[in-house]
């Protein structure tokens, strides 16, 4: 066993887990705070990934973009375009009740996927975009560079986490939860429910775009199957439910633990004899399916459940105010 290898494995593992943590935090804003059932996560992820890739990649004749802009510009642009896409989607379907919103968002994500696969001039279609840079490229060589990228990803995770926490505790966040828990009551006290929900959706979508951009920079290559809608959307949902929706720490813990289930199962099934090599992959998928069921049933309110509505907290606040 090579300890250096294990270290680098952990680096790669945590990069992916960090990207999922951002997705999970983003979904937590939409679902945990706002009660919005977004089943089109992969769509916003893809928009972000392609925006950043097209802006930062080396010039190419086969597709648009290739402007070699700095990675940070790409990531900010990813947040903007994904947020705008979220805004357009929300503008159209925010009034829909939860399951319908889910269906509409799946449908839109699927349409986005087809545009990405089919519009070669824009995205180079299924051949994908190569030569996507990473931040601090050239500072370190070889796999050591992954450590820098890991730090970059987790700095962004930390920023997103702090922002989400501030949102949660802000008056805005409290109104949101009121909307989530009792829409009619919130409406009755004069809150513009639709506008609040729209804001939640846009913020979440923008963060998903950031995660997409990070994945493109990590892989240095982007093709349509990197944004497989059902896989990404499903995994993120499981992560949030496992971690505890409504709780930002839970979202991160959920991302880490479910990604661990997803990734580490292969190390276990690889111990099967080589003649089972094909089957061991199926066994792994089976194992993942079963483990996820176990997590769902065993940790119903998540590994870290949402903080209690904060009655005491709110009362104290009222006292200090009045």
């Amino acid at each position: 066993m090579d300890p250096v290898g294990l270290l680098f494995f952990l680096v790669g593992f945590l990069i992916m887990a960090g990207i999922y943590a951002i997705l999970c935090l983003a979904l937590n804003v939409q679902w945990g705070y706002g009660g919005l059932f977004n089943a089109g996560i992969a769509g916003f992820f893809a928009v972000g990934a392609y925006t950043s890739a097209l802006l930062t990649a080396a010039p190419a004749q086969t597709h648009l973009g290739g402007y070699e802009l700095p990675v940070l510009v790409g990531i900010i642009a990813a947040a903007v375009t994904a947020g705008l896409t979220g805004w357009a989607v929300a503008k159209i379907c925010i009034r829909l009740k939860s399951d319908y919103l889910a269906m509409a968002s799946i449908g839109i994500a699927e349409i986005l996927r087809m545009v990405i696969v089919n519009e070669d001039w824009l995205t180079n279609g299924s051949l994908g975009i190569t030569n996507i840079p990473r931040p601090f490229d050239g500072l370190l060589q070889g796999r050591e560079a992954d450590i820098l990228f890991l730090a970059f990803v987790w700095v962004i995770v930390a920023i997103v986490y702090l922002v989400c926490n501030r949102l949660y505790d802000s008056p805005w966040g409290r109104t949101l939860r009121a909307v989530r828990d009792n829409e009619d009551a919130a409406r009755a006290v004069g809150k513009d429910v639709d506008s609040f929900r729209l804001q939640t959706f846009v913020i979440g979508a923008a963060l998903m775009g950031v995660a997409g951009a990070l994945s493109a920079h990590y892989f240095r290559f982007l093709s349509p199957e990197a944004t497989e809608p059902l896989l990404i959307t499903f995994l993120v949902w499981v992560m949030l439910m496992a971690g505890g929706s409504g709780n930002n720490k839970g979202a991160i813990v959920g991302a880490l633990s479910v990604w661990a289930i997803w990734s580490l199962t292969e190390i276990v099934t690889n111990r099967l004899p080589a003649e089972f090599a094909t089957r061991s992959s199926y066994i792994r998928m089976l194992l993942i399916g079963l483990l996820l069921q176990f997590v769902l049933q065993k940790y119903r309110s998540g590994l870290l459940p949402e903080r209690s509505p904060g009655i005491a907290f709110d009362k104290d606040k009222d006292k200090t105010h009045g």
Partner: protein, 400 residues
Amino acid sequence: MKKSIVMAAVAGLLASTAMAQAEDVKVGALMDVTGPLASFIPPLMNAANFAIKHVNDGGGLLTGKAVLVVGDSQAASQPAVDAANKLVNVENVPIVMGALASGSTIAAATAVTIPAGVVQISPTATSPSMTGMKDGDHLFRLVPSDNYQGEVLTKIVLAEGIKKVAITYVNNDYGVGIATTFNEAFKKAGGEVTAFEKHEDKKNSYRSEIATLAKNGPEALVVIAYASGSGSKIVKQAIEGGFFARFIGTDGLRDDQLIKEVGADALKDSFFSAPTSPDKNDASAKLHEMFNAEYKEGADKPFVDQTYDATFLAALAVEKAGSTDRTKMSQALRDVASAPGDVIGPGEWAKAKELIKAGKDINYEGAGGSYEFDANGDVTGYIGKFVVDGETYKQIAIFQ
């Protein structure tokens, strides 16, 4: 929860590695086992295992046995990177065979194997963008880039006297690459393309597409798709609808699966192109015979030859390097694959091991080609022309 899973996995890992013989050498394989290419994999997995079996039957790898470690790259970037990360860093393999799809191959290479300095040999990735990649001589492939097969196919089609075709291709890296080159080459050579349409892989019905393709009287339909995906469906529905009787396919379509679904009778005027071995090399026939003796079937499935060869070459490179030192692999691979040297064919591990031990240069001539890598790690292969013969295919000509 997370900690306990990680701990358990790590503990299991340590235990199992401790059990393996210290001298055993792991050979990594990225296979798109689950996911959209799943139906291709079983014979290819056999091919990889078969190569490893030949290594071990012929005296083993270095001082121990060769052990194949498979990562499931799922024909998508994210799982490919994850799987490659495990192969390179946890399993600590010196060399990686795979992946099959261009997308998963490129993602695994750019994110994991190239930075880690591990040589990766894809048996099947055809994407032209791999040619110009800055890979530090770490990324190799055993099939010619799409640019090549498309051009050769043009020659084959024109030689049949066909001047007017319709093209449909599956919208993935495989289909787009070959179809685009063929389309351009065919027109340049004076042929007429009546329709050039991509299609989605997963649909059940392609009838409306075929109805459009049949307009303006094309003599044949060029189908660039996998037989186990959209390919068979399109051929079948085109025949049932009475639109086309003659089909031209590439290695993706040249699959027993097509005969199984459509029947040999309906394909008697059709022909197919696929990478093959050079003239007079009986390596392919030999491998197929051994393969079918071992596994009863599947030798003629697409990409079996290349997968076997890639695995065998990976093992040869390790043997040639004399250790599991990753930095020596790309030179060792070039040494064993290219002329000059004593020719080694599939299954001849004992002979190869002997020659390497004696310090002689060897040249592997595989079932799928002779694999003379150029500076980019690409090969200019040979393309064979195949027709249906009973329940399988027969090679009737070779083009270069």
